[in-house]
């Protein structure tokens, strides 16, 4: 369990193949074999890196072409039209989508974290009857495709709450715990040693104080991972805004808006690709700042018992 949360160690940067000492033919042969192995592994690595990076390169190159060239099969821009990005930025709605996405992702993440922590703590550390079943229900909710319950949920938000045409039907439920976040946090909290909690209780802390003073500071990496996942989930969500906000362009998010942007510019692959990169960019920027938390989080989802 504990080793599941440790970040994969970065291999020590060995400059090229390990240096073999000695000059006997046998050791030279071994050295040559090691060198060949090094070359094979790294060539394969470069080939794979090309597969992962080339799509980004083509998107970037196309986003800089002029309108007419973007419709041809040319791979290299004949002129560098950086103002395509300004055009996208100023396109009607684009800034509104940004604002809405930030509200949805920001508020959604905050509510999810606040409401999921106590639940995850109880599931990880309290002993009570039905604990096992509660955990199974959390996992079931986590695995449930959102489409299974979408019809009654839509009717509920449309007919009872009159909140369709806004993003509230997506944000409000996050104040009541999110199954995936609860699961992930609970896995993380299992690794917090009980001794810390017992010590706090001996010092006279109640459960709430123990949670606030001891558990949350210890669980910061787990909380960071959960917050990142939830933020990305909201940022990427297409189905939710499509169901609840499609009627009202003022409530569209980037993921949903991008699709309609493509519709309105279906002959301008350059602008569509520029918009695509602008939607990808923040997520990638966040990743560079929080790489470690993120990779720990992914590792945590694949925990072994």
């Amino acid at each position: 369990m504990t080793n599941a949360v440790t970040a994969p160690p970065v291999s020590p940067a060995a400059p090229g193949p390990a240096r073999a000492t000695g000059r006997s033919p046998a050791s030279r042969a071994a050295r040559r074999q090691e060198l060949l192995h090094w070359i094979a592994v790294h060539s394969l690595g470069i080939a794979a890196a090309l597969f992962f990076v080339m799509p980004f390169v083509f998107i970037l190159l196309t986003s800089l072409m002029d309108d007419r060239q973007a419709l041809t099969s040319a791979l290299w821009p004949r002129s560098w039209n950086w103002d395509n990005y300004a055009t996208v930025w100023q396109a009607p709605g684009f800034l509104t989508w940004w604002r809405n996405t930030l509200i949805y992702a920001g508020l959604g993440t905050l509510l999810t974290v606040v409401s999921s922590i106590p639940v995850a703590y109880a599931l990880a550390k309290f002993r009570f009857r039905g604990r096992r079943i509660a955990m199974m229900l959390v996992i079931s909710a986590m695995m449930l495709p959102p489409q299974v319950i979408i019809v009654p949920m839509y009717l509920f938000w449309a007919k009872q709450m009159h909140l369709t045409g806004t993003l509230w039907p997506l944000i409000i439920p996050m104040a009541f715990g999110d199954a995936f976040s609860i699961f992930l946090l609970r896995q993380f909290l299992l690794t917090v040693p009980n001794e810390y909690l017992d010590a706090a209780k001996v010092d006279g802390c109640g459960e709430l104080r123990t949670l606030l003073r001891i558990v949350i500071p210890l669980a910061k990496p787990g909380i960071a991972a959960v917050a990142l996942f939830q933020f990305f989930y909201c940022w990427n969500d297409y189905f939710g805004p499509q169901i609840y906000a499609s009627d009202n362009p003022a409530a569209w998010t980037l993921s949903y808006g991008l699709e309609s942007f493509k519709d309105n510019h279906h002959t301008n692959w350059n602008l569509t690709m520029a918009a695509t990169l602008l939607v990808m960019a923040p997520v990638i920027a966040v990743f560079f700042f929080a790489q470690k938390a993120f990779i720990e989080g992914v590792t945590l989802t694949g925990v072994k018992g």
Partner: protein, 319 residues
């Protein structure tokens, strides 16, 4: 006696206090689970036996929706067989590729951090953006991929515009976003005890034998985990096929008269979640949408149960 009695009363009140405390901590989720899981699920079952268009009050119509979906609705079995294809091919390809990339990254000595970041990055691309990008890259006429294939004298498939190539194209997109599996496999591979490799090497085992008899047995729980979660993700597969199909179909305009019915080309990208959407929100056939939703529910819960089985221990419910 009195002392003992007092003791048990104190114990009982402690129990009650602890019970209330547990309830208080669980309360956000207990409310959430009831309102956003149990209630809509029950309601979905109810509507599956009703005729309801969202406007006129629902009326009972027995098994009509069920027989319609299973025997008359031409899209249901197409979606089921696509799902089977995706489970058999896409999930398998992702697991093999993810394991391969994970092994590669553990062997890379120089610039490992650099490679890892680049391998991981596409996983983060928002699905709508990534799918639009692939629809462009794999555009049969002018896309860069077919351009390069043509230059090399290779055949140029129709990708998202050809029913036989649309699912392979989606698979390529899924392989591009392999980052999650790569990280999970990488962590598992680094956990394999080094001594076992050394022992195997002393016994003269080649690299295939070491993989077969040391690596695989050690990581098999993670492989199984990747397969089962892959199947569950396939049940939820929605954004990529609907965006790819819509973009390739050339249907444009949200609400501008043209409506894209999912599945292009020729039902080849249909999945069950898209059926729920098209039945419930494009055709206003609430009852049939709920029937498909329940099929989706049964399938995903069956695989989730597999994940939680005590013996397999893929997700530990106990600590």
């Amino acid at each position: 006696m009195t002392i003992l009695h007092g003791h048990s009363a104190a114990l009982r009140s402690k129990r009650r206090r602890e019970g209330l405390r547990t309830l208080a901590f669980l309360s956000p989720w207990l409310i959430g689970f009831s309102v956003f899981f149990v209630y809509p699920l029950v309601s979905t079952v109810y509507f599956s036996f009703m005729k309801y268009d969202g406007f006129k009050p629902p009326t009972f119509n027995g098994l009509t929706n069920w027989t319609y979906v299973f025997s008359q609705y031409p899209f249901f079995w197409a979606a089921m067989s696509n799902t089977l294809w995706l489970v058999a091919i896409m999930v398998t390809a992702r697991v093999i590729f993810g394991l391969g990339i994970g092994m590669l990254i553990t062997k890379i000595k120089t610039g490992a951090g650099f490679f890892r970041t680049f391998f991981y990055l596409p996983y983060l691309a928002p699905p709508v953006a990534a799918t639009l990008a692939f629809a462009f890259l794999l555009n049969p006429g002018t896309g860069p991929v077919n351009q390069l294939l043509g230059d090399l004298g290779l055949p140029q498939p129709g990708w998202f515009n050809d029913p036989t190539w649309s699912k392979p194209a989606l698979t390529l997109l899924a392989l591009w976003g392999i980052g999650d599996l790569m990280v999970i496999f990488m962590a598992a591979l680094l956990d394999v005890p080094k001594e076992q490799y050394e022992a195997a090497e002393l016994d003269g085992a080649g690299s295939w034998k070491r993989f077969r008899y040391v690596t695989l047995p050690n990581i098999s729980p993670i492989v199984l985990f990747a397969v089962v979660t892959g199947v569950i993700q396939t049940m939820q597969y929605y954004t990529q096929p609907i965006i790819a199909g819509k973009t390739a179909s050339g249907v444009i305009g949200a609400g501008a008269g043209q409506i894209y019915e999912p599945g292009y080309p020729g039902k080849s990208t249909l999945t069950l979640p898209q059926l729920v959407y098209t039945l419930g929100f494009q055709r206003f056939d609430t009852g049939s949408a709920c029937v498909v939703a329940l099929v989706l529910f049964a399938l995903s819960m069956a695989f989730t149960a597999l994940l939680m089985r005590r013996r397999s221990g893929l997700i530990t419910v106990e600590d």
